[in-house]
Symmetry: C2
Subunit: 346 residues, 2 copies
DNA sequence: ATCAAGAATGAACACGCTTTCATTTTTGTC
DNA sequence: GACAAAAATGAAAGCGTGTTCATTCTTGAT
């Protein structure tokens, strides 16, 4: 209790360090800014005293005068989803190394965006915001954030955004889904699959829409029938049930293309453990994402990979570029996808 | 580009709102603080103008004067781990509802704590910090943070901490592992298991040490042999390999008790897909945590549950208590565990 | 109508820091 | 050793907000 009070008082300020080291407070500030000109020995002495006093510059105060919070906001609907948690993990690591901290905001699972959340986030004045088109449209976000520049992860065809976002500035990460889907369809066709079902993700998800569109296009190009489209929401349970329905109520299929890996797991388990079918002998399954769980032996999933490292590297590049040159022209990074062949098609 | 400059200038301040609404700046401040006394109609007018100007109080400035940042730091080694991501997700949601934002910090996977990271975090002045004993010892953290109060998840026997942490103040969340482990052992014994292997987690992990200790104690109490202890690190791959070694090089076992669910998955896959053994007929498997994946049909894991909702509710309660009454006596919340019976023992 | 008590108000200060800017000291050059 | 250029220094001015504190305006009871 007294202990506590002491601790409370112990929070050192630049003034205290200055007094203790017999320098001006300005010198202390400079000691912590590598670019400022300060006699090396003086800097060393200040840093030594600072260490003794357990002093750290207050980011809030610094942010107030510099206008840079060193915070990067991340808007996510579900931290538990393997896909998103990978993103958060890798980005946080990379940004941390560059001196930025991750500020996490959760939106509702149905992707609806609470305007109060945006206001709330604005208050923290993040230097940048990472969002997914799934969660919030560019215009809405751009309208809310002023200093910060949103970065968008979008999928393939940006045409649908061109109109909505005209005049607004944001950087983009494009994922070209065509390659991977093309390879997957070729493989399926090679193994004789004819009736293909598409196990969709969330209806509002643009990634899902784009995957469905690309799949249809690819099947058509190869002279194959249009896919049976099953509604989904990216979750295991829904995928499981949809697969049961497809085979019990519907007409079945000889291949299932899932909008994400977790959905593919649900489909595989329904086929094997409830329908008594073999994967890949009776039904072939392809996923999308290539999350770590996909190589687990129980699934051993053939899936379209969006390379995590590439993805994060591109995102970090965009963010840092924007932070260093806030007025630069909007940038677009493009990523390719490719098929990882494992054991669920064969 | 001009667009950008405009936006930059557009960031409204309380002064601007005051001028626009013909009131003093103090009134604007009060309008955003529900407890401050302000004529209702005046408040309404101010809030209306504020909305028009897209004004949000600057948290940094506010933090500077109030001393509360409305940030809660979270120190995690791996966002992707189902266990931790559940924690992050639920806590972020709960704290967000209370007006706090989550500040995420990643530590190295080997649980080593970079002192620079702590300094860095200190700079953001979090109102509270949530950490796990696995990652950093209480004393170290307490020594670094002043105003913020760390919260720990520790396991069962706190005696080992009593010495180290004497004199320092921190709130604790205790998990009583005995109940769940007791139930699991009873079940295993009932099905005739005799040679039990413990598939450990990270060596530095105190949760792991405590689980191993409790298992040994429980087996002894029931007159059963001591377990074969396999080294692990909470990952699927290591668990997979350890299980192979146990049966190929070692003497095998008729039951495997894993330190966490993901490890149990690795064990199950090694048994079924590489060793050709049946789970639960040949070997029974019990996990620990009860993550969402554990009910997936491919695993359908019998496991010791630490209830997520209870856990998060207790944590949030502790944090909010501490934020409201920083000088209150340290509090301890206790959680129980219980066995969830599914299909890997029987 | 009067008065005390409470609500409403705004001026001034404080929070901890970075950034001019004008001044002093050091460095490099002939 | 003298001079210009560069580096080093500290005083003062803010950054945008919440909080005294002394003052004015309402309210309600007499």
């Amino acid at each position: 209790m007294n202990d506590r009070a002491d601790k409370k008082a112990a929070r050192a300020t630049a003034d205290q360090v200055a007094r203790e080291a017999n320098v001006s407070r300005v010198a202390v500030s400079r000691a912590f800014n590598p670019n400022a000109s300060l006699k090396p020995e003086k800097r060393d002495r200040i840093l030594k005293v600072a260490r003794e006093l357990n002093y750290t510059p207050d980011m809030a105060a610094r942010s107030l005068v510099t206008g840079r919070s060193h915070l990067v906001g991340m808007i996510v609907p579900d931290v538990c989803s393997p896909w998103e948690s990978q993103e958060i993990d890798a980005l946080t690591t990379a940004l941390q190394a560059e001196g930025f901290a991750t500020l996490l905001f959760k939106v509702k699972a149905d992707f609806s965006m609470d305007p109060r959340l945006l206001t709330y986030m604005r208050g923290f004045n993040p230097d940048s915001v990472i969002a997914f088109t799934e969660n919030i449209l560019p215009d809405v976000l751009c309208g809310f954030l002023d200093r910060a520049v949103p970065i968008y992860v979008i999928y393939d065809d940006v045409a649908q955004f061109a109109g909505a976002a005209s005049g607004t500035l944001y950087d983009r990460l494009l994922v070209r889904q065509k390659n991977g889907i093309e390879q997957a369809v070729a493989l399926l066709q090679g193994y004789g699959a004819r009736r293909i079902a598409y196990l969709g993700g969330k209806a509002q998800s643009l990634a899902n829409a784009e995957r469905e569109r690309t799949l249809k296009e690819t099947l058509a190009e190869r002279g194959m029938d249009a896919p049976i489209v099953l509604p989904g929401d990216y979750t295991y349970d829904t995928a499981y049930q949809a697969t049961l329905d497809l085979f019990r109520i519907g007409e079945g299929a000889d291949a299932i293309f899932a909008a994400n890996d977790v959905g593919a797991f649900g489909a595989i388990d329904a086929l094997r453990h409830e329908l008594g079918l073999s994967v890949p002998d009776d039904v072939k399954v392809v996923g999308f994402d290539d999350i770590p769980q996909s190589h687990w032996k129980s699934y051993n999933l053939t899936t379209v990979r969006i390379d995590l490292e590439e993805r994060v590297r591109a995102l970090v590049r965009l963010i840092l570029m924007r932070l260093r040159a806030p007025d630069a022209e909007p940038l677009t990074e493009t990523l390719n996808t490719r098929l990882i062949v494992r054991g669920t098609v064969g």
